[in-house]
Amino acid sequence: MNSVFVYCEIEDGQVAEVSMELLTKGRALATELKCKLEAIAIGYQLDGIGKDIFPYGVDVLHVADDKRLAPYTTLPHNSIVVKLFQEEKPQIALMGASSVGRDLGPRVSSALHSGLTADCTSLVIGNHEDKKLGKEYKNLLYQIRPAFGGNIIATIVNPECRPQMATVREGVMKKNILDPDYKGVINNLDVSKYTTDADFVVELIERHVEKSKINIKGSPIIVAGGYGVGSKENFDLLFELAEVLGGEVGASRAAVDAGYVEHARQIGQTGTTVRPKLYIACGISGQIQHRAGMEESAQIIAINTDLEAPINSIADYVITGDVAEILPKMIKYYKANTK
């Protein structure tokens, strides 16, 4: 049985969070399919990287270690992954829906003529029948994602082409170590056999890694604003409430597109996925792409002038009214009750 593969992103010698989440998902899929889970790590000075990867239940780790392979550039990573997939013929290949995975994934899928589904929110094994061709397919990967501005949820399958490829955003899957002593084997790749000089035409001139100061993913309380907040100035009220409650400010895509706040605060399918204790949605209509990024919040308060707003359907509390009137009251009564 062909394996499930996960491409592990390496940043400064560390395995990226999204890759660990995908290894966890990949292990579950491999167990269900009764096949091996294999991982790929491409970078420089990767001695010992196995100890960060095997505990997720990885059976085989393919390592390509060369000075020219870090930081990431498209072409050499693409050549290694394409060639390795041609040799190993995985049935499923997963990558993070990050700037690396969304750069690499499509190029690999084009070279292999295999289907790729971007930004999946759920991956499930299931059967498929093509009635037109009268063919049945067992154990395909259902790649489930919102589409069309989040107004539909599509289930995508790749019946014929392999590997079945999918990207998933950070935070969508949960990471979970299977066994700290899990025994897998390392396969060191001879980089010169997998790449050519032409793969190294793109030069990296400079790179500033700016660690985001905004940590909406880890915040237990999120005050999020949408287009309905109305202005950059009105967002100040959200910042004020977030500060009083000890939380962070998030935003819907519409608010980010309107320039109210920076992109790093975007929550939803194409932003960050969050699971706070409390999510206060201000002036957010709640299209499914936004909900995909926050609906697992423990408690949701929806503040909106529109009684019919979709966000109200998943809220625990609905307050119909103007954000500019309600937030100062929340601040006032929070302070009054905590002294």
Binding site: S110, A111, G115, D130, I152, I153, I156, H263, Y317
Partner: protein, 291 residues
């Protein structure tokens, strides 16, 4: 100084960002026909990057390539009004149902036929699918390097393009030889507005199908003013394997689509009165949600 031959890949998309009440059907699903068709936002960021190169390097030409139904010629005109030089509409029923891979095959074959390009610039992704796949896939089809997530094309010197990329946790500057394909983020500068002089010049620019539909004499018009001809290409104009097109050529299949129908889980409705606000905050504090 020599100019560059630039192709801008653009897509006409339904405006899925602002689905208003009038676009919602009674059953809670979206009436797609009610959504306006627009120039994909990040493709406009891409066009602006191309126009800036044209500003710096006289003699540069910008060709807009779009694949879609006949009415997608609208976005080619939109591009001409802002400073593009010409356009190609790739339109054929054979493309219907294409996934990203079949789409990039068709676009790749069109670019091979057209030839004559130094830099291909596209938006990072289109708002109707948000996949960000067609750019890198076209680059692979053409066997040229790709620079994704671009925010600014900094310089072109000695046949190399320097590009600033905006990533999750910072920025990166890379240099890449021509020819290459660049995809541009929405964090790049907005596209300039239409130019009044160019609107006058190009308002009658049409595809042959549009001319025929309007019953206009395009033969004379195109002879006198060739810039008014928007090229309309079908599968006949490019070398393609029909098995690689449309639904047949798409490895991914849509198994099923569920319309999003909203059902309330029965929220507690809180009024904006002081009593209700006070009560709400007390409840949240008592349940240790806050505080």
């Amino acid at each position: 100084m020599k100019g560059y031959k630039i192709i801008v890949l653009a897509k006409q998309v339904p405006d899925t960002r602002n689905v208003g009440k009038d676009a919602m059907k009674a059953d809670g699903t979206v009436n797609r026909a009610a959504l306006p068709a627009i120039f994909n936002p990040e493709d406009l960021n891409a066009l602006e990057q191309a126009l800036r190169i044209k500003d710096k390097f006289p003699g540069t030409t910008i060709t807009i390539l779009t694949m879609g139904p006949g009415r997608a010629a609208e976005i080619i005109r939109e591009g001409l009004f802002r400073g593009a030089d010409d356009g190609i509409l790739l339109t054929d029923r054979a493309f219907a149902g294409s996934d990203t891979l079949a789409t990039s095959y068709a676009i790749g074959q069109t670019l091979k036929k057209h030839g004559n390009f130094d830099i291909i610039i596209a938006g990072r992704q289109a708002i109707d699918g948000d996949t960000a796949q067609v750019g890198p896939q076209v680059a692979e089809k053409l066997g040229i390097p790709q620079i994704t997530y671009a925010e600014d094309i900094l310089s072109i010197e000695n046949g190399k393009v320097a590009v600033k990329r905006r990533l999750e946790h910072g920025v990166e500057v890379v240099k890449c030889p021509i020819p290459l394909l660049i995809t541009v983020n929405s964090s790049a500068p907005d596209c300039r507005s239409r130019n009044a002089r160019l609107i006058m010049k190009y308002k009658h620019a049409k595809t042959i199908s549009e001319m025929q539909e309007a019953n206009e004499d395009y033969v004379h018009l195109y002879n006198d003013r060739p810039y008014l001809s928007i090229k309309e290409w079908t599968v006949q104009n490019i070398d393609v394997d029909p098995n690689e097109l449309g639904l047949t050529g798409s490895p991914t299949k849509v198994k099923n689509v569920d319309n999003v129908v909203l059902q309330s889980k029965g929220a507690k409705v809180v009024s904006t009165s002081d009593e209700d606000m006070n009560q709400l905050m007390r409840e949240l504090i008592e349940s240790h949600t806050i505080g």
